[in-house]
């Protein structure tokens, strides 16, 4: 075997070992500025790849960024906050470069509570904000006003600390166990996760009931009324796994994926923190309001697709024919999406088999060589943001082939020296 190929295969085996045998566990909730290494007060984390020019930022993300600055008490108006971004007084950084992830239009600022996801086997730690619940007017969907500020403050002062205390008292919650218990219940665990969120609620409520805080019932009510809570927990868990996986040189496996509304990008283990980006395609499928059109949507915006790097979402499409239907696809399309992902993956999770897929598991470890060689690119699921704020729809998108080609070109330049 070619010596380079031998090194690649060995590195990829290591990454697949990490992806398959890690144990993502929700261990805590802490303010981002206290727990995320390298986080500074005058800093915000945003989804997707970095911006070369802040003027490229779409309006909905601009609202989340500026709102977060006001939330931190660094500015008192949106205009003043925007000025701080333009002058660089407040730095904006891609969350995934800090082992964190921002779903949809989420921005993470220093005082915001983040879910801490630890891989208890290889030791990696990752972070994600807490899902804000069913209220569509939230920072996660690019809104900021007095109501949103009130919610953010409650999350910072009450909800986040309460969840952290409950999770610590349990010694953590293993995410793989939740996925295994709910396999075959119709979740693809990126855009649809009522089963896994319910399982998470069942695990956490006894610990929440033990809390000696005045607002205990409000905390339980908020957590129990959210069938998407598991998404953000799994995002933190995935980032923990990827902290270890991304540090394996010579590996061609994909380790970062996300969009900032303007650009969509990927990273690979063997090429470090370099992003390979293209103009962000739109997530198309179902619009939530018949009077809206595709023109109302921002390009791919969000990091929640990091769960797909772990094999969920579009790569697990066969697990959720109901969601695929929403994206305009059929049962056969659901099967094909998973089969395409299998074609370009190096591993398969066996702990959560899907009965109607012959009890197969879900694919994990997308190899950029395989994507380029076969000319098959996997399908990602997602929710789409409106340019002016709010969720516009939900659907799917083919992960752009050019990101893989750019990655492979850079990888080759690196190994060639």
């Amino acid at each position: 075997m070619n010596a380079i190929r031998e090194q690649i295969e060995k590195a990829n085996e290591k990454v697949i070992d990490i992806l398959l045998n890690s144990q993502p566990t929700w261990v805590d909730v802490k303010p981002a500025g206290e727990i995320i290494p390298g986080f500074e007060k005058n800093m915000l984390l945003h989804p997707g790849p970095p911006f070369e020019d802040v003027n490229d930022i779409v309006p909905t993300l601009r609202t989340s960024l500026c709102g977060s600055i006001i939330h931190e008490g660094l500015a008192s108006t949106m205009d003043a906050a925007w000025e701080m971004i333009k002058t660089g007084e407040v730095a904006i950084k891609p969350a995934q470069d800090y082992n964190a992830s921002c779903a949809a239009v989420t921005v993470i600022s220093a005082s915001m509570p983040v879910i801490v996801g630890k891989d208890t086997v290889f030791g990696g730690v990752g972070y994600a904000s807490i899902h804000p619940g069913p209220n569509p007017k939230c920072l996660r969907w690019g809104f900021y006003d007095e109501d949103v500020e009130k919610d953010l403050s409650w999350f910072r002062d009450v909800f986040g600390p309460a969840l952290g205390e409950a999770v610590r008292s349990m010694g953590g919650i293993n995410m793989k166990t939740i996925l295994a218990r709910t396999a075959g219940m119709g979740d693809e665990n990126h855009v649809r996760q009522p089963a896994s969120s319910s399982a998470l609620i069942l695990e956490l409520i006894p610990a929440l009931l033990e809390l000696k805080i005045e607002q205990r019932d409000d905390v339980i009510r908020a957590f129990a009324a959210n069938d998407r809570s598991f998404l953000h927990v799994m995002m933190a868990g995935t980032m923990g796994i990827l902290e270890t996986a991304r540090n394996v040189p010579m590996s061609t496996v994909m380790v970062a994926m996300g969009g900032n509304g303007t650009e969509f990008g990927l990273q690979f283990a063997g090429t470090g923190k370099q992003w390979f980006s293209v103009p962000a395609p739109k997530i198309l499928g179902q619009l939530l309001n018949p009077s809206w059109t595709e023109a109302d949507l921002a390009g791919y915006l969000g990091d929640s697709c990091v769960t797909e790097i772990y094999g969920l979402g579009g790569f697990s499409a066969i697990a959720s024919p109901a969601f695929v239907r929403l994206t305009g696809g059929s049962f056969a399309d659901a099967k094909k999406r998973t089969e395409d992902a299998r074609e370009v993956s190096l591993g398969e999770h066996l702990f959560a088999p899907i009965p109607w897929d012959d009890y197969r598991g879900f694919p994990v470890g997308i190899d950029m060589r395989k994507v380029v060689a076969t000319n098959i690119t996997p399908t990602s699921h997602g929710g789409s943001a409106r340019l002016v704020g709010g969720q516009g729809g939900a659907g799917s998108m083919l992960v752009p082939m050019d990101c893989f080609k750019q990655g492979l070109r850079a990888f080759y330049e690196l190994v060639r020296g």
């Binding site: 070619n2 380079i4 690649i8 000319n375 080609k405």
Partner: protein
């Protein structure tokens, strides 16, 4: 030699179709047996990518 060629043309036709299925389907519709080989060019025919994949030892 000529006999062998005559023999070939008189024998039952078995076609091996490589790549686009529609060519094989057209022959099958005319009653011949077709063996389909699923094949497509490496990297969609992108020569730069083919060269890189080969330099990395193939896949």
């Amino acid at each position: 030699m000529q006999n062998k060629i005559d023999e070939l043309f008189k024998s039952e036709l078995v076609v091996v179709n490589i790549g686009p299925k529609m060519f094989g389907d057209a022959v099958r519709k005319q009653g011949a047996e077709v063996i389909q080989v699923d094949w497509k060019p490496l990297a969609g025919g992108d020569k730069e990518m083919i060269a890189i994949l080969e330099a990395l030892g193939g896949i």
